[in-house]
Symmetry: C2
Subunit: 278 residues, 2 copies
């Protein structure tokens, strides 16, 4: 396994690093960023929060804009931010921002031309943690979080694999993708027209039917321009009420869909995960 | 005076806003960003920290990457981040990243083709504060800070105008531009070949001769790839020793020239300015 270190920056006494590696799941070279808190310099193993970004993002947006390193350094928590899709000249793409490269939607695609590389569900669930846990000084305690498309990904991964994650959180998640334009467009392309195959990737459907629980925190700004058409947090709230899911959903007055919203509340999310990661 | 609001984002209970306006000093439309802390919603007037960014930056880099809003919100401090040069199709430019648009060096250019628009010294010293203080709920208490080229700008503005600023700070400033490649290239173009005209824009020369003091804080990473060739903080330290200038210079082990370094220590800088801004 070839892991290439692309960049290292000291940050809050720890290290932000970027890597590329050939990925079996994605069939291409993938990039990720990791924040290693100062505690690892003392030989301590730390738990890991996986962060899934939104449409058009790379491994860089969260690390540069969320202001998360300060609290991760205090709590002794690593953060891993994968890219949002496979990438490269050989990888299928689409000219729109919400399909193809930068828009993997954290699914395993079954349809042509996407099925060869677009296997972000497998990549984030299995391949990336196996790699991280074999190379870096981390424990096997994992939590997962994300924003928008990445909030959808984090919720779906935790809801389908409650044994793999200690906690889950999301900012402005696409909560009910089978019922919004972003989700319908992506799922039609990646999974085909049979909507029965979409529900495995819909957080509201999964939460309604959940029997095994992972503590869940969701923050949503009420001035988010995507709220009414794309995000549907009310579907998640209804689902949680039906299954008794331990969901805390905060509606935040005046906040939009940007990283300024994430930065404003990331400390609360990190402390939430810190309680379960131990 | 036409002030156009381009963008607004709620952040840590306050507001990040971007504006454009026609500038007399620059003879073109200029952009700036402002962070207004939550205290202004209660009718309170707040002091202002001006932040000057480095080469290639715009009004956005600091606001997105420094993680400064959290502490500014706590302290009740506005932050204003101007662009780093005049811009536009009619504005002289150069293909290199360290001259022309994005590289104004906070001087008043005297040489062709730069002298018409490149008057960032006047813009930051006079025009921008006059505008800010006439439009926003701020006091006339000002401090100034910056990074790299902007650290140079902040130090020069405070050293030449101690009556205008309560305090000054810099990350990785170009401390002795008359003696480094970035400074010599920019000053030759903007100010001409007569080096006697450069010293008014050299923080180390100005600090050595200073008689009126502004409390000054400088942070420099020792793993900064520009340190040896471009930054020369030792010249600033020598100058401060000669004049008795109240300079605190911290060398930070392992930190580089990036915003990860700035984010790691911005809280200390904001609290430093907060002590003098009252």
């Amino acid at each position: 396994m070839t892991l290439e270190n692309l960049n290292s920056n000291k940050s809050f006494g720890g290290w932000h690093k970027q890597y590329s590696h050939p990925s079996d799941s994605a069939g291409c070279v993938m990039r990720f960023a990791i924040y290693l808190p100062p505690q690892v310099a003392n030989g301590q193993k730390v738990p890991v929060l996986y962060w899934l970004s939104g449409l058009t993002c790379t491994d860089e947006n969260f690390m540069q804009k969320a202001g998360a390193h300060r609290v991760a350094a205090e709590l002794g928590m690593a953060i891993v931010a994968p890219d949002t899709s496979p990438r490269g000249e050989d990888v299928a793409d689409n000219e729109s921002y919400d399909l193809g490269q930068g828009a993997g939607f954290y699914v395993n695609a079954t349809e042509s031309p996407w099925e060869r590389h677009y296997r972000m569900y497998d990549y984030v669930l299995n391949e990336l943690p196996a790699l991280i846990e074999s190379v870096f000084p981390v424990t096997d305690q994992r939590s997962i979080a994300g924003h928008s498309m990445g909030g959808h990904g984090a919720l779906v991964l935790a809801l389908r694999n409650p044994e793999r994650y200690q906690s889950v959180s999301a900012f402005s998640p696409i909560s009910n993708p089978v019922n919004c334009p972003w989700g319908r467009k992506a799922f039609t392309a990646y999974l085909g027209r049979d909507t029965a195959r979409w529900v495995d990737y819909d957080a509201s459907v999964l939460m309604r039917e959940a029997r095994q629980f992972v503590p869940a925190l969701v923050d949503q700004g009420d001035a988010d321009s995507f709220l009414a058409e794309q995000l549907h947090p009310e579907a998640l709230e209804t689902a949680a009420a039906i299954s008794g899911y331990p969901l805390t959903l905060n509606l935040r007055e005046g906040y939009d869909h940007s990283y300024y919203f994430i930065a404003s509340f990331i400390e609360e999310h990190l402390r939430f995960h810190g309680r379960y990661l131990g």
